[in-house]
């Protein structure tokens, strides 16, 4: 190919290079603050602009995913409905958990947002970095573990939903084999698998849980294939920790059962759907906005469940016996008034070792670090090294 006229292009490139060189200073990047803020840090006082509070949400997936992001967006809409003209909300979807996230966060700050929600773990480092620079902006990070003076974390006790689903699954299954399509083998997911099994075993001590990992949060074709593999091995009730409705749809096609996850997925599998373990981010978002509006917002970690209205099992179908439905109501009431604990000993892990003694109740620290399968779950957790 004949090279185009080079002189013109060389001049432009040289100009570009000069531009960058002229602003050059060799310093290393400031290291991100990694210490968790002291709990006694004062409330973050944002410069109060006249006008509504500008809130922004960064989503990792599309709002139409009918799963994780859909649930967050539902929460956002509830905020709009509740606070009306006192707030304006905006969102950016499909923000990847990579170097791009930082740019999006900064752009949101630049646009004047003073309360920013990052709805996935992978935004942790970018949010931390931007938070140390934009000290008057409040940052909220979902499912993370690093905080700062103006960055706090929030999460939902999805394991409570998983437990309740397990209670139903244990009653419905005929083959006594349950299947879970797992996303990524992090503690949250392992905890959900264990809680599901605990719930099932509480009504049916014979069940076993089989797990297939797709190594992604969201990959409908793969999720469907994983579900098929589980069904082929005899599982007749499926649970998932992934974000699409493919697992439920596969169960529907095969005439077996499944649950919705994150959001109500009953329309994707009308015959197969037993219930959906959903997350209501509304209550927490409304609380956070209220605090931002009245100035009481301060850093910390929040982990809400059924008690605060963040977790629920909805859409229970007619396949679920009246007995089971009553038991679910009982569990919910017990979680609400604190009289019932899911992770209460004696609990034994796969190898037979007792991880919780009789009568002992797990605290949040224990729950955060679960990286073992309990008895009843088949296979090994795919950790390597």
């Amino acid at each position: 190919m004949t090279p185009p006229n080079l002189i013109h292009r060389r001049a432009v490139s040289a100009a570009l290079a000069c531009l960058l060189l002229s602003a050059c200073s060799k310093k290393t990047e400031p290291s991100a603050a990694t210490t968790s803020a002291s709990s006694a840090s004062a409330a973050v006082e944002a410069a109060k602009p006249a006008g509504p509070l500008k809130i922004a949400f960064a989503y990792v997936g599309p709002v139409g995913d009918a799963g994780w992001t859909f649930a967050h967006d539902r929460g956002r809409k509830e905020v709009e409905a509740e606070f009306g003209s006192k707030v304006t909300t905006a969102f950016v979807e499909n923000v990847p958990e990579s170097a791009d996230a930082e740019r999006v966060m900064r752009d949101l700050v630049d646009q004047g947002n003073t309360l920013i929600f990052g709805t996935t773990f992978g935004y942790m480092e970018p949010m931390l970095k931007v938070a140390t620079e934009a000290k008057s902006v409040r940052f909220e990070h979902a499912t993370g573990y690093k905080t700062g003076a103006n960055l706090r974390t929030y999460d939902a006790r999805t394991y409570e939903g998983a437990y309740m689903a397990g209670v139903i699954a244990g009653g419905v299954t005929k083959s006594n084999k349950l299947g879970v399509v797992g996303s990524i083998p992090i503690p949250e997911v392992i905890r959900n698998i264990d809680s599901f099994t605990l719930g099932a075993r509480s009504v049916n001590p014979k069940i076993t849980t089989h797990v297939v990992w797709v190594n992604k949060w969201f990959d409908p074709p793969k999720e469907g294939e994983a579900a098929q593999a589980l069904l082929n091995q005899g599982a007749d009730v499926l649970m998932q920790n992934t974000d699409s409705s493919a697992v439920l749809q596969t169960a529907e096609k095969a005439g077996k059962f499944g649950f919705g996850w994150d959001s109500n997925m009953s329309k994707f599998g009308p015959k197969a759907h037993l219930g959906s373990a959903i997350i209501n981010w509304g209550p927490y978002y409304k609380q956070a906005v209220k605090e931002a509006l009245d100035g009481s917002w301060k850093t910390g970690k929040t982990w809400w469940g059924v008690k605060e209205g963040a977790i629920d099992l909805v859409g229970l179908s007619d396949q679920v016996s009246a007995e089971a439905k009553a038991k679910i109501e009982q569990i919910k009431a017990g979680l609400k008034d604190g009289s019932f604990s899911i992770w209460k000993g004696p609990i034994v892990d796969q190898s037979g070792k007792e991880v919780l003694k009789a009568g002992e109740t797990a605290d949040d620290k224990f729950l955060s670090g679960i990286n073992f399968y309990i008895k009843g779950v088949e296979g090994k957790i795919p950790t390597s090294g």
Binding site: G64, V212, P220, N232, Q249, G379
Partner: protein, 308 residues
Amino acid sequence: MNLNELALLFAASINSGTPIALAALGLLINERSGVLNLGAEGLMLVAAVTGFATAVHTHSDFLALLAGVAAGAVLALFFALLVIYLNTNQYATGLALSLFGAGFSAFVGVPYASESLGERTQFTLPGLSKLPVLGPALFSFHPLVYLTVLLSLAFSWFLFRARSGLVLRAIGESPESAHALGYPVRRIRVSAVMAGGALCGLAGAYVSVVYTPLWIEGMIAGKGWIALALTAFATWRPARVLLGAYLFGGVTMLQLHLQGQGVNLPIQLLTALPYLATILVLVLISRNSAWIRSNMPAALGKPFHPGA
């Protein structure tokens, strides 16, 4: 693993391999005429979203699949005009199609991401599907699966027994000779590319309407590229394409099955298996350069200039 589980695994492999087989058969027709279409992935994605959208609006699977076929054919026509009449570089144009198709399908599909298609019919051959073992293994498939097998047989016959198939192959080997004999090389190539595109479109629509009745960006997840590899390592023969596709589907389902059984190999290794297997087979069949030369259409990827 008992016999019943084996039968189910077999059936799952066939299901998983069908879209790849369909796309590969389409690409085979393309490549036999001498045109390499690297845009298969983009074609399949656009067809998938078109098919899904049609299914949502018309509630008819048949129309949806037809829409996918049409989308594939139209895009392929566009590709063909560029590559055959304007003689643009086949590799680059194909890549552009892939990238454009990915973006366009994502763009158009935004409003469909939370739609569902309602109740799906379970296809079974009456009586036969109730047979033990053989029933689930062989007789419980969606009609398209059987169609794929028939297509493969039809293509084998067409390519190697029919006169028009011979002409097609001749154009793929030496378009100059075919041109000298008076055949409208470029017109035949365009038809071949469109037919190939139609099949890729069918494959794409199958994925979004039948296999995983959902739409999500990028849901073809590399099946188009696998199909491209498949035509090469099946040495451009329809029957081998079918086998290769089912093999690929088999390895995919097997690794999921092994996980469910609790086999303790790193999941990443298991997930990478199908791709590693593809490389291995590619190497094995390409080894003998004489054999590859005698099997690959000689004019594949080269532009044709009539009168040049």
